[in-house]
Each structure stands twice: as C-alpha cells, then as structure tokens.
C-alpha cells in the first residue's frame, strides 16, 4: 500500500462525487455527492501526512476540521433545502431556476 493507492482511491471518490453532483436531479443526492468530494480531500490530507510527514499532525487535524465544517455546512444546506421545498414543493434542482443569469 503506497501513497499512490490512497491517492487513486481519493481521486476515484472525488470523480464519483463530481459525477453525482452534475447528474443527480435530487438536491439531497447532490449534497451527498459533495460530502463524497470532501471525504476525498480528507483521504488525501491524511495520506500525505502518513507518508510524507509521519511525525506531524497537521493533516489529520485539518481533516477533522473539514469534517466539522462539512457537518455545519450540511446543517445550513438542509435548512435552506427545507425552505426551498416548502416554497416550491419539489426537491429537483432543475426547478430551482429563480436566479436567472
């Protein structure tokens, strides 16, 4: 098990996240895909720490920090989602086109 294996797993996970975020119609699914991308980044951080700076703890600390931020963010996101759902009666993002550019 080398650093590359971890990085490949993280990259695959990130791509799955991207794919999900671009293709899921349901906004719950999109939020879950975003969580996947966060976790891909976390794997990278922890893997880099483990293989490049085993003595340090900055990578795992940052991973923990990201998890916390992600949890908080999901709270805000779900709250917004609830608000939108009550107004529009749908959870599909193609219907969320109020902010036309």
């Amino acid at each position: 098990m080398t650093l590359s294996h971890y990085l490949i797993v993280a990259a695959l996970l990130f791509l799955i996240g991207v794919f999900g975020a671009l293709t899921r119609r349901n906004i719950i699914g999109i939020l879950m895909s975003i969580e996947l991308m966060f976790n891909a980044a976390n794997i990278n951080l922890v893997a880099f720490e483990r293989f490049l700076h085993p003595a340090g703890s900055a990578g795992s600390a940052l991973a923990l920090f990201i998890m916390t931020v992600a949890a908080a963010e999901v709270v805000v996101g779900l709250a917004l989602l609830m608000a939108i759902y009550r107004n529009t009666d749908t959870a599909y993002v193609e219907h969320f086109n109020l902010l036309k550019g």
């Binding site: 671009l22 993002v93 550019g101």
Partner: protein
C-alpha cells in the same frame, strides 16, 4: 583729487534727477542753480585733475575699477567666467576733455538761465542739459567700452530731447526724429564693431583691449572691420559725411542747447571715441586712411554749404560739421594730438559762436542774416566776443584756432600733399564764410530798421559767459601749445605690434625711423611729433597770407551797403549756387533712399503676403489638412474596425457559448466550470 574722478559724471547726473523730479515746473524756478552748482563742482574737480596732470604731480593714465557684474559662459566646451568691471580711466585726452566739457556746459547753463527765462518748461530744460553733460562726462571718463556705449546712447537720447525741446512745433519734431534716426544708423555700425571686438578680445576694458592690440594678436582684417564700424558710429555722432544731414536741422532746439551739442557733448563724442580706440586704427592702415578721407570730404562739403546759407545758426552748424571733418582728418592721417587739440579749442570758440548767435537772435528775434546788419553799434560786447571767436575759427595767428588748425594742416602736409591742398582750400572757405557771417550781422547799416531799432545788448547772465569763453577762445591755444604741453598731455598712443605686423610702406618706415633714432638723445617721440606738427616756413607763411586774403575778399563782397558784387557772383555761378544751397543733394538723396527703401519694403511685404504666405504657409497647411483627412479615414476604416472586430468577436463568442446553457440550470453551469477547470489543470500540469 584724481581718486574723486568717478564723481565727475555722477554729480551732474544726480543734479539732473533732482531737477527732473524735484520742485514744481515754474518759469522762474530756482532749480537751474542746482545744475549750475553741480557743474561748478565738476569743473573744479576737472580743473584740479588737469592742473595736476599738467604740472606732472599725478601719473596718467589713472585707472580704477570696481566690480560690476560677471557671468559664466561656455567657450569651445570649456567654462569661462567673464568679469565686467566698471570704472574710470583718466588719460591725458580725458583730463583735457573733462575740463572743456564741464567749462562749456557751465557757461551754457549760466547763459541759459537768461536765455530760457520764462519758458514753460524752464526746469526741464536744465535737467536735460545736466543729463546730457553727465552722459558725455561718463563717456570720457569710462574705462569700459560697454559703459562708454551706454553713455553714447544716453547722449543720443538727450540730444533727441533737446533738439525737440519745443515739440509743439513741427520743425523740432522732424529735426529730432531725423537726428535720432541718422545717428542710430551710425550706431548700428558701432554696435557691430563692439560685438566683434568683444568676441575677439573677451573684454570691454580699454586697457585690456589695448594690450591685445599692442601685442599684435588682432588680425589686420578684423581690425579694419572693427575700425570701419567705429568710424561709422563716429560719423553718425560727429556728423561726418554722409551722415551729417542731421546736424544742420538740429538747430531747431534752443540755441544754448545747440551750443552744448556742437561744442562740448554729442558731436565731440565721435571724435573722442575714435581717439579712445585709436589703437584699432593704428592696427589698420585702411581704417586710418578711411577716417582721413571721410574727414576731408566732410570738411570740404560742409564748408562749401556754409558759403551760401543765410541762417546764422545754420552757417555755424555747417562750420561745426566742417571743423569736425578737420579733426577726423587729423586723426586719420595720424595727427592724434592735432585732432584732439582742435577739438579742445573748437569747443571754446564754437560754444562762444553759438552763444553769441543766441544773443543776437535773442535781440533781433530772427535767424536770417539778411535782416540783421550794423549790430555792432547796438551790442558791443556780443560784437567783440563774436569777433574773437570768428578770428579764432578762421585761424588768424595768435588765437586758439590758429594753433590747432596749423597743427592739423602740418600733419596732413606730412601725410599727403593732395589732401593738404583740399584742406587748405577748406580752411580758406572757413575764413570766408565766417567773415561773411560777421559782416552781414554786425557790419554796415541796418537793413531792417524795425528789428534794428528794437535790438539791445543782452543781460549780464548772457554776456558773462561770452566774455569767459572769449578769454579761453583767445588764449587756450597758446596756453596749451606753450612748451609743448599739448604733446605731453595728449600723447599719441603707439602699438608696438604695428611696426612689425603692418607691411610698412616707405613713409611709414620713415616715420618710425627718426623716433628710434632720437631716442638715443632726449625726449624720444616728442621730437618726432614736433616735427610732424610744423609746416615748412614758406608754406606756413603762405597759409597765413591766404587766410588774410580770404578775409579781405569776404570784406569786399559783404561789407555793404549794397551786395551787387556778391549777387553778381551768385547769378553767374547759379548752378553751383543751387548745388550748394541744396546741400549737394544729400538730403534729397537720403529722402529718395528712404522712399526707395519704403517701396522695397512694400514689395517685400507684398511678396510675403501673396507668395510666401499663400504658397508656402497656406500650401503647407492645406497639405497637412489633406494628410490629416486621409489619416482620419484610415483610422475610421481600418483601425477602428479592427478594434470593433476584436470586441465584437469576444461578444459573439460569449453569446454563442451562452446559448449552450439553459438558463438557471446550476448543474450545467457547474459542468462547464468543471470542464474549464480540468482543461486548465491539464494545461498547467502537462507543461
């Protein structure tokens, strides 16, 4: 006392300003006495300097300079600092001239108190006279040619103001303009000469310029150009041919002012300038010869014109021109001492003649000699003093004019015999026309009874100066000639380079030879000059006899009571008479010249207006306009469309790309962002 020499020009200048700005204009203002007192102090200073110089208790030349200003300049890439001092340089000629100027000016001012009495610009007149004299004294005493030139121009201004003093009348206005413009024509030559001199020498200090010439650094060609320029300036100021036309008209001013112009200031300045820069002429035989001939021609022409004039002041004016010609001729033939000696004696008797004529005019209220006659009975004092002056100017032995004119004739004789005979003939004409004036004015019976009846002797303020000047006219010549004093005071300058640099012609070498020879004995150059200052005895005697004959001829023609013989001569020589009366057509010539110049200027203006402006200026403008329009077209069509094209392309691409996205679809936005990001990342990472 000589340390106070700098005060001599400053005192009358200060007096002039006091008189100009102090007090109120009043026909009976006491202000003139300020000027007279100032001039008295000046005279006292000048006499003390002269006395010390004559007695030999003070070494001349005395020079003292003060710092004036300096400036830095680049010459051939190297920085130089030029110093311009201001100071006094009193040499022998200056010592003599200061006395003459101060004396004549003092006499003129005292006389003017009576003569100008009751004039509406009484005070102003005296301010002008003081200022005039100050400028002349400054010119004489200055050690610096720049200051000399400034004084020279100040005198031009003063003469303009004095000649046009009665500017309400047309005559003085025309005369002052004529005088100013004619002298300025000469000044342009002097100005160029001074610039040339400064460019060559790098200093305006007379002593330094003298050193430059003495060492022979000045190429003869340049010296000739400078000399001719100075000569042109002197010809304007000293009324030499052909620029003498202003002086006869300058009579329009007040008569004592004319006396000042003719005797002490203005016209003497030209001669003095030549004498101050005599080394230039010594370095250039051409300029020297030119000065001699200009003087000779002037003397002859002016004397001939004086023969036919009936205006008493005009005769005197022509005689001044003629006598100045004598001086210039003397300087030109190398008679430095003779020329300045004559300047001195002439100042006294010409001032006397003018003041005497003023006294006569004051008494009979006319300038026309045909309306005078027999005035000797009415004005005995004026008569006697005028007679002394006329005898002096005619060159009758014993009086001052005799000594100086004799010396000039001797110098000319030793230089060139042809010039001598012309000059002798001029001297005879001088005697003739002066006695013609004398006989017409004072002799015979009264021709205009009413004028004669009202004639009276002038007051003491007028006759007093006449008597003083008469004493000087009578004895100045003999006094200065006594024991060769004039040679000692007015020593001819020499430049050591001239003997070697100039390719000496026969006579020149001969003139140098005896001087060197006699230096083995006593009194080196003095002996040689004394020799130049004497005619051969037989010629001397002939000259005196001829002058007396000329006077006798004048007596028979003009003693009255009828002038049949004179009239007969006049009619038989009608063409010549007209020629002289028209002043050899000099005035007409200059008038025609001005007219032609005006026409040429008009033509040049027309060409400028119609050819230069139309073709070149307007044509160039038109060409530029066409070019600008072409440029504008190019800018609009090509440059602007390129700019618009780039902008439009960006716009089109943007619009095209936006049409790919359905509005409001966040996931599509995100997809393009992801594609762009991955493209950018690929590009950066694979570089």
């Amino acid at each position: 006392m000589i340390e106070l020499a700098y005060l001599i020009p400053l005192i009358p200048a200060a007096a002039a300003f006091v008189m100009l700005f102090g007090g109120k204009e009043d026909p009976h203002s006491p202000m003139p006495w300020v000027g007279i007192a100032a001039m008295g102090v000046c005279l006292a200073l000048s006499v003390s300097i002269f006395w010390a110089a004559a007695a030999g208790t003070v070494a001349l030349p005395y020079e003292h300079n003060w710092h004036w200003f300096s400036f830095a300049a680049q010459v051939a890439g190297k920085p130089f600092v030029y110093d311009m001092p201001i100071g006094v340089l009193i040499d022998g000629p200056a010592a003599v001239t200061l006395v003459v100027v101060a004396m004549v000016s003092l006499m003129v001012q005292v006389y003017s108190v009576a003569y100008m009495h009751g004039d509406i610009r009484f005070k102003l007149y005296f301010a002008y006279v003081s200022f005039f004299t100050a400028a002349m004294l400054g010119l004489v005493a200055s050690s610096n040619l720049l200051v000399t030139f400034a004084c020279w121009e100040l005198m031009g201004l003063s003469s303009y103001l004095l000649i046009g003093f009665w500017f309400e009348r047309e005559g003085p206005c025309e005369a002052q303009k004529k005088a100013f413009m004619t002298t300025k024509l000469g000044d342009s030559g002097l100005y160029l000469a001074l610039l040339f001199l400064y460019a060559k020498v790098g200093s305006f200090q007379l002593s330094q310029i003298y050193q430059f010439f003495d060492k022979g650094y000045m190429p003869p060609m340049v010296a000739t150009v400078i000399g001719l320029g100075i000569l042109l300036g002197a010809a304007g100021k000293s009324a030499q041919a052909p620029l003498f036309i202003w002086l006869p008209d300058a009579m329009e001013g007040p008569t004592p002012g004319s006396a000042l112009i003719h005797a002490a200031t203005m016209v003497a300045a030209g001669i003095l300038l030549v004498s101050k820069t005599y080394f230039v002429f010594l370095a250039s035989p051409t300029a020297m010869e030119a000065a001699g001939w200009v003087g000779l021609i002037t003397a002859f022409l002016a004397a001939s014109m004086a023969l036919v004039s009936y205006d008493i002041k005009r005769v005197l004016a022509f005689s001044t021109v003629s006598q100045l010609g004598f001086m210039m001729c003397a300087l030109g033939v190398g008679g430095f001492t003779a020329g300045l000696f004559h300047l001195t004696t002439h100042a006294f008797f010409k001032a006397l003649l003018f003041l005497g004529a003023g006294s006569v005019i004051h008494s009979v209220h006319t300038n026309d000699m045909r309306q005078m006659g027999g005035l000797s009975k009415k004005m005995p004092l004026t008569f006697v003093t005028m007679l002394i002056a006329i005898l002096a100017i005619s060159g009758v032995p014993g009086l001052s004019g005799y000594y100086s004119k004799d010396m000039i004739l001797a110098n000319v004789w030793n230089h060139d015999h042809r010039m001598f005979w012309i000059l002798l003939f001029t001297a005879l004409m001088t005697a003739f026309y002066m006695f013609r004036l004398f006989f017409l004015t004072f002799w015979g019976d009264d021709r205009d009874h009413e004028k004669f009846h009202h004639a009276h002797e002038s007051p003491a303020l007028i006759t007093g100066p006449l008597v003083v000047l008469a004493v000087f006219s009578a004895f100045a010549g003999a006094g200065l000639n006594h024991n060769g004093l004039v040679y000692k005071l007015i020593a001819k300058p020499t430049i050591s380079a001239a003997a070697t640099a100039a390719p000496a012609p026969g006579e020149h070498a001969a003139a140098v030879e005896p001087a060197e020879h006699s230096s083995a004995h006593e009194a080196a150059g003095e002996h040689g000059e004394h020799h130049e200052g004497h005619l051969p005895p037989w010629l001397h005697l002939t000259t005196i006899v001829l002058v007396l004959c000329s006077i006798t001829l004048s007596f028979f023609l003009y003693r009255g009571p009828t002038y049949a013989v004179a009239d007969a001569v006049k009619t038989s020589l009608a063409p010549l008479y007209t020629l002289l009366e028209r002043r050899w057509y000099f005035d007409d010539f200059f008038y025609a010249l001005v007219v032609v110049a005006d026409k040429v200027a008009a033509l040049a203006f027309w060409i400028d207006d119609n050819v230069v402006d139309r073709v070149f200026v307007d044509g160039w403008g038109l060409l530029m306009r066409i070019f600008a329009q072409l440029s504008d077209l190019f800018d609009n069509v090509f440059v602007d469309s390129a700019v618009d094209g780039v902008g439009g392309l960006g716009n089109d691409v943007g619009v095209g790309l936006r049409s790919l996205v359905r509005e409001g679809q966040v996931q599509e936005y995100l997809m393009y962002a992801a594609i762009a990001f991955s493209l950018a990342a690929t590009l950066i990472l694979t570089r």
